[in-house]
């Protein structure tokens, strides 16, 4: 039985290229089939369902075929995933619903300043490869807390690692499940809560049975779907508009047109200097401090997020772990360098065909999204021409021509509406929905696995019952996965308000909690257990304190901790009048909504709370350095282990018993 399964997986690994080529061909054939069905008059709703259920079924089949009862297969896919494919899997693991649907919208809204996110979410892989990833691979851990425990003297450090991991992964996974629900409800017309749980089933089938092995091979499949879905509409649009199928090159022309049109709009009174944010002007949404702080926190956070680091535990060698980081970034780059093109094309369309147009002459695609409340014109949902004509008439002095201030668009719409803007058939919209779903599901899979592995491997097996037999360990892992998934879905179904901001927080928390201890553990032999433990507590604690205070106890932050208002990036003036806000009856309210006058608007040094890692990580480094020097040098043995981690050759430091 054992030999049979080994040779079976060997066949699979030897034929990866063929398997995934056939899969890609099959997917394209399926898209063409849907296109044909559309021409035959099958209603859009049915086509949407076909897309979603077909792709979910394929992921589920891969999940079932990759089921495993071996511990090393479950936790690290048997350390047999080639660099190239691990790169694809990491790409899918990395790119979430926020990247797929939200990124282009953010760039549309913020222009140049939005690029902070693009830079932050790519540059971090440099740190993964150079500072951390390959060394953890050589160490031979199953989870990130495994390394902390070994290097820093046992279960206390392990427990801290688990706390950091759960803190940064849980909000993140909730956002993914939320994203799944959003896409499914928008395209299939399901109720949101139902869609959340439907998405959950898709996630569970992939990750429950086969752990890391199943998640890896589904993520590769999901990457292929998401990248085809992301690039297709925009390649067609670029070809139609500029006669050249590489949108990443042609959108420069769109930007020139946008700049010209901005001037024109100002001259003709369609926009004012106050409400127009020039697309390429820097530092009008974020101050330079916050712009660079966000980049740094996202980059360093990337190199500290456990669900990313653990992907590099699956390669056959340290060498391949390094190559794999490079492939990962290449695959991620394909999406991120296209996102600004989406933003530019959409903006040009809005500026030329909506702003300055007569309200009676707007294109029909607007009303599809207006009905859902995602586009507003003259302050009302743009559901139909009559509705907006009436709304604009109600504004005193309105001439019936849409001005910039009349138009409000939800950022999620940018990617989702591009096929319609380009006048493409519904099949392309369905494809985009399938891609968004793949992005959300794959990230959720990776995150859930990271949390469940930490709980089952680190907490249950290493801390509670070190003698647990394999069967029970895997059973516990699956049950915990199910529980975490259900809790996350239940949280997502309540539609928590600032879920997307929480994703940003996750990076800062990971940066403050993990980065100093991981880097120092590899790069400075003198780092002691006490030093690292104090560093994690201090860095993570400060970051968490800053987040929680500025968001949930802003009044107390001002009153007791000397926080002041954040500053307007253009004028440098405070964004809230603290004295006035503190005089309001709700000033000291705890856990206020985002509407609270102080929530997220106060801080130290004008630093936004998304970038709280900027406070935590330097403190973490400093504390580790000082406390380590105060203590006794780590044992000769431990230093020899660190030497071992630094050399790719030889056995892994940690040898897990697998039976």
């Amino acid at each position: 039985m054992a030999t049979e399964s080994t040779s079976g997986s060997g066949d699979f690994l030897n034929n990866l290229g063929r398997v995934y080529s056939i899969y890609t061909g099959g997917f394209l054939a399926f898209v063409i089939l849907i296109a044909v069905l559309e021409q035959m008059g099958v209603p859009n709703k049915i086509l949407g369902y076909l897309f979603v259920f077909f792709t979910l079924a394929v992921y589920a089949i891969i999940g079932v075929l990759s089921r495993t009862a071996q511990v090393s297969e479950y936790y690290v896919a048997g350390r047999s995933v080639p660099a190239f494919y691990n790169g694809m899997a990491t790409g899918a693991d990395w790119m979430s619903a926020a990247s797929f649907v939200g990124m282009a919208g953010t760039l549309f809204l913020l222009g140049y300043d939005g690029i902070a996110w693009v830079l932050g979410w790519t540059g971090g892989f440099v740190l993964v490869s150079i500072l951390i990833g390959p060394y953890l691979r050589k160490f031979g851990a199953y989870t990130v807390p495994d390394f902390l425990a070994f290097r820093y003297g046992g279960n206390f450090a392990r427990g801290l690692g688990v706390i950091v991991l759960v803190a940064c992964s849980f909000t993140y996974v909730t956002a993914q499940i939320y994203g799944t629900g959003l896409i499914a409800s928008r395209f299939l017309g399901m109720p949101f809560e139902l869609a959340v749980f439907a998405g959950l089933v898709g996630i569970l089938v992939c990750s429950m049975l086969g752990g890391m092995r199943a998640v890896t091979w589904t993520q590769v499949a999901q990457y292929i779907v998401l990248i085809i879905a992301y690039l297709t509409p925009i390649v067609i649009l670029s070809t139609k508009k500029y006669g050249f199928p590489i949108p990443e090159l042609t959108y420069g022309l769109a930007i020139s047109d946008i700049i010209a049109r901005e001037q024109q709009m100002l001259a003709s009174g369609l926009a004012t200097v106050a409400n127009l944010k020039p697309h390429i002007s820097p530092f009008i949404n974020y101050s330079p401090l916050n712009f660079f702080a966000i980049i740094l926190c996202m980059m360093v956070g990337t190199a500290s997020l456990p669900h990313i680091l653990m992907r590099y535990f699956t390669t056959p060698s340290v060498r391949e772990a390094r190559q794999s980081v490079a492939w990962s970034l290449l695959f991620i780059f394909l999406l991120y360098f296209s996102a600004p093109a989406y933003a530019a094309f959409s903006k040009l369309e809005v500026y030329t065909n909506i702003i300055g147009a007569d309200v009676t002459a707007l294109k029909p695609w607007i009303f599809n999204w207006g009905e859902l409340g995602l586009i507003q014109i003259c302050g009302k949902n743009a559901g139909s021409i009559d509705a907006i004509v009436a709304a604009c008439k109600a504004i005193a002095g309105h001439t019936g021509v849409v001005r910039l201030q009349d138009f409000v668009i939800n950022t999620d719409v940018i990617v989702l509406s591009t096929p319609e803007i380009a006048g493409l058939p519904y099949v392309i919209s369905g494809l985009v929905a399938a891609g968004g779903l793949a992005a959300a599901l794959s990230t959720a899979d990776g995150l859930l696995l990271a949390i469940a592995n930490a709980l089952s491997h680190d907490v249950y097996y290493k801390m509670v019952d070190p003698n647990a037999p394999t069967v029970r360990r895997l059973m516990v892992a699956r049950v915990l996965l199910l529980i975490v998934a259900i809790v996350a879905a239940a949280t997502a179904a309540t539609k928590p308000g600032d879920i997307l901001a929480m994703v940003g927080w996750a990076f800062s928390l990971a940066m403050a909690g993990n980065f100093p201890a991981l880097v120092m553990g590899v790069w400075w032999k003198r780092t002691t257990a006490t030093g690292a433990i104090c560093g994690i507590i201090a860095g993570f604690g400060l970051c968490l304190f800053y987040l929680v205070t500025t968001r949930y106890f802003p009044g107390a932050g001002v009153k007791y901790y000397g926080m002041t208002s954040l500053l307007n990036p253009v004028t440098g003036a405070p964004i809230v009048d603290i004295a006035k806000a503190m005089a309001l009856p709700n000033a000291m309210e705890a856990f206020p909504t985002l509407a609270h006058p102080l929530a997220n608007k106060v801080g130290w040094f004008g630093l936004t709370n998304i970038a709280c890692g900027m406070l935590g990580a330097p403190l973490g480094f400093a504390v580790i350095y000082v406390v380590s020097l105060l203590g006794k040098e780590p044992s000769k043995e431990m230093q020899a282990y660190v030497d071992d981690i630094r050399k790719p050759r030889g056995r892994t430091v940690l040898e897990e018993k697998t039976t």
Binding site: G123, I130, I255, I295, R646
Partner: protein
């Protein structure tokens, strides 16, 4: 014990070279991740011919990203070369 001192020396030389490579790449990373974007305003005055991008915008949206990708492939090769030089590379 000549063999173990030899190993010790090799380890130290290997790590010194690895650290140098690390600082070199971090330098490039820092330049393209931060320094160049501090000059976005003057760079935006330069328009890339034919394509039409303002240079400052282009560097943030694409230029730095391309550098990161190329850097990582180079790093994987360079580090592997160092590992091989000192006999610490894994067998192929």
């Amino acid at each position: 014990m000549p063999e173990s001192t030899d190993l010790k020396q090799r380890e130290e030389a290997h790590w010194a070279k690895t650290s140098r490579l690390m600082f070199m790449h971090l330098g490039v990373w820092f330049f393209f991740g931060y320094v160049i974007h501090m000059f976005v305003v003057p760079l935006n005055k330069i328009i890339i011919p034919i394509l039409g991008f303002p240079l400052g915008f282009y560097m943030a949206a694409q230029g730095s990203l391309i550098v990161f990708v190329v850097m990582l492939f180079m790093f994987a090769r360079q580090q592997d070369k160092i590992d091989r030089e000192y006999g610490f590379a894994e067998e192929d």
